[in-house]
Amino acid sequence: MSRLTDANIKLAKEIIGRYPRARSAIIPLLHLAQEQHGHITNAAIAHIGELVGATSAEVLGTCTFYEMFKMEPVGKYLVNICGTMSCALLGSDELMHRAEHTLGIKAGSTTADGLFTLEHAECQAACTEAPCLQVNYRHRYRVTPDQLDALIVDLRAGNLDGEIPPHGTVARVRQHIPAGRAVGAVAPEDATDPPVWLSTGPSINAKTPK
């Protein structure tokens, strides 16, 4: 049931086609599977292996290396509170305590209603805006405990549905390379000539109008 859908197989093939070697698409395809199902299932891993020509064990090895891939169901909203230095210096512990209290769960677990999973996260590249957190990988900056409570209320009420898609979806925009513009991916052993522009001198006339 949790293999990729036909629509996603089509997308998967498009993604695979961008790489000189199909296996490069493993991480993007795992994201696609997580987007479809909310977490990664064994069936999806096996399916991805088939699509890229890897064994299930190899895809599993890759999958479990990366923290964003969840092998168990998580809440609709994954709340990651950063606890690395800059955030710790400015109150991330308090923020985490408040989150645990408000959600009634410990970090690393999911609320009974399946809405929230709370995680202690490492640096989210917003150190000047500490303490920070992410909900489904959307940042919230300089969050006070009270602001956190308000955020949870908003999420629960669905007020942020337009901004924050359910867990699994990271970017809502995908790259699409138009067929007519694509150079195309070629296996390295079949593309051993130097690129043409290296030997031909200037590629356009300096006076070409904009």
């Binding site: 991480i27 890759t62 500490a130 940042h139 970017a171 925009v173 590629s203």
Partner: protein, 479 residues
């Protein structure tokens, strides 16, 4: 807090503060729509590419070499020289853009990707043209949803407008830029791990040599791995020339740099600073920058170059932001990240936040990092929790010695009568993640040993952190 801070805060670019300084990579940040193709084209966008395509590839490469564009990812290796390290005649060659910014304290590449994705794309194109790279993979950190969306949109627009893909601007230059994204692993920021990850594997670093990416990189082919900020410099450079570029900054460190200053300062932020001349004192205390320590507190220590860097004391404030000088003083510049600790900071607890980070982010490949990092974290956790023993302090250093044999770099301290041990350290691991788990412990223990002893002997618990800025200010400051 009486002195007024100068500079412009841009609400649409959280964290970024512009000032009366040259801006090479942040010139469009003042526009709310800076990430759109329309704005980019209206502000001279893609004219660096155009300039580049009117010249021979070797010429463009030389221009970049002459400008000495230092890599902004951490190692500070000149990009032009890096491009020249590919083996003669071996093709295809690839460009991999390192947008996996994760170093604690570092916050700049994400801004550049979110606020000016076309500038990055243009930089990629220039690099591909100059170094004969036939495909570009733009690897963005998995947790950066907005950056991924902005770059995807920009790429879709740039393809449609003919800036990327086949016969760019009607020339014989054709290259695809493929957006790739990660899934949560700090170590993938290391260039060989980035390549492993891009090949669909576990992001475990490869040993250099033999796996120098320029020689044996993606799919075993010559590969240039450049940082986002490094590439973002190229459009400006191609429009304005190497002379204009080197006119900013110093000879060894030309141009500007993005620096994030976080922690216990009045105004944490990301600043584009003049390379090589701006001092740490300027950054921490200058009113055009952070404006001093919060609540009028004293500076206790600071991390000058991201979480991996050995710590500095107020003694080092007058050092300029310059790689060689900082190295001689016992630390490194890394990826442009300063984390400031005031005198309320619980030093062992602060060190633990970094050691925990690196132990958590160990890929598990090298024994010393996999086993040693966790061991360090567990000892330090016990100490911070008040369960440390006398033997633990020496044991921390002993485990550290197994990761970094020999003397470990540290700063000079007048108070302690210490002279500096210069960078770099020796290491028993492939990459710097293992040593980075030890660096904060070594700094903290060398510079603030009494705080560790206090936790062991007296079993006193100092509050781990202070309150957030807003709360602290409302309460009148202080603890």
């Amino acid at each position: 807090m009486s002195e007024s801070l100068t500079g412009t805060i841009m609400p649409h670019a959280p964290g970024f503060i512009a000032g009366d300084r040259p801006r090479i990579v942040t010139s469009r940040f003042e526009y709310e729509d800076s990430y759109t193709l329309e704005r980019y084209l209206a502000t001279d966008g893609y004219s660096g590419l155009r300039a580049c395509l009117t010249r021979a590839a070797a010429d463009v490469h030389n221009e970049v070499k002459t400008a000495t564009v230092l890599g902004r990812g951490g190692a500070g290796f000149p990009a032009g020289v890096k491009w020249g390290l590919t083996p003669q005649g071996k093709f295809p060659r690839y460009l991999v853009v390192n947008g996996d910014e994760s170093e604690p304290g570092t916050y700049k590449d994400r801004l550049l990707m979110e606020r000016d994705p076309h500038q990055l794309i243009e930089g990629c194109l220039i690099a591909c043209y100059a170094a004969g790279l036939s495909q570009c993979f733009l690897y963005i950190r998995g947790e950066m949803a907005l950056a991924q969306e902005r770059v995807a949109t920009a790429l879709n627009d740039a393809y449609a407008a003919g800036y990327v893909g086949t016969n760019i601007l009607g020339s014989n230059f054709s290259v695809d830029i493929v957006l790739h994204w990660g899934a949560g692993a700090y170590v993938v920021g290391e260039e060989t791990a980035l390549i492993e990850s891009l090949e669909g594997n576990r992001g475990m670093p490869r040993l250099k040599p033999p796996f120098f990416p320029a020689a044996i990189g993606l799919y075993g082919q010559p590969t240039i791995v450049n940082n986002v900020e490094t590439l973002a410099n190229l459009p400006w450079l191609l429009v304005n020339g190497a002379a204009a570029y080197t006119a900013i900054g110093t000879e060894s460190s030309p141009g500007t740099r993005m620096v994030a200053v976080s922690g216990h300062v009045r105004r944490p932020g990301v600043y584009e600073i003049v390379n090589g001349t701006t001092t740490f004192r300027d950054l921490v205390y200058g009113n055009e920058f952070c404006g001093g320590i919060r609540n009028g507190n004293e500076l206790k220590a600071f991390v000058p170059g991201g979480g991996s860097a050995p710590w500095f004391l107020p003694d080092q404030l007058d050092l300029p932001f310059e790689g060689k000088l900082v190295g001689a003083a016992g630390s490194m510049l890394g990826s442009g990240a300063i984390m400031v600790m005031d005198d309320t900071t619980d030093i062992p607890a602060a060190a633990l936040t970094l050691t925990r980070f690196y132990a958590h982010e160990s890929c598990g490949k090298c024994t010393p990092c996999r086993e040693g990092g966790t061991w360090l974290e567990r000892i330090l956790s016990r100490i911070v929790a008040g369960n440390g023993t006398d033997a633990d302090l020496d044991q921390l250093l002993e485990v550290g010695e197994s990761i970094c044999p020999g003397s470990f770099p540290h700063a000079a301290s007048e108070r302690l009568g210490l002279t500096a041990v210069p960078f770099p350290y020796k290491m028993t691991t492939i990459c710097f993640v293992g040593p980075s788990a030890f660096a904060p412990i070594h700094s903290a223990l060398t510079l603030f040993r009494d705080e560790f002893i206090a936790k062991i002997v007296k079993r006193t618990l100092i509050p781990v952190t202070a309150a957030p800025i807003a709360a602290a200010s409302a309460a009148g400051g202080g603890q």
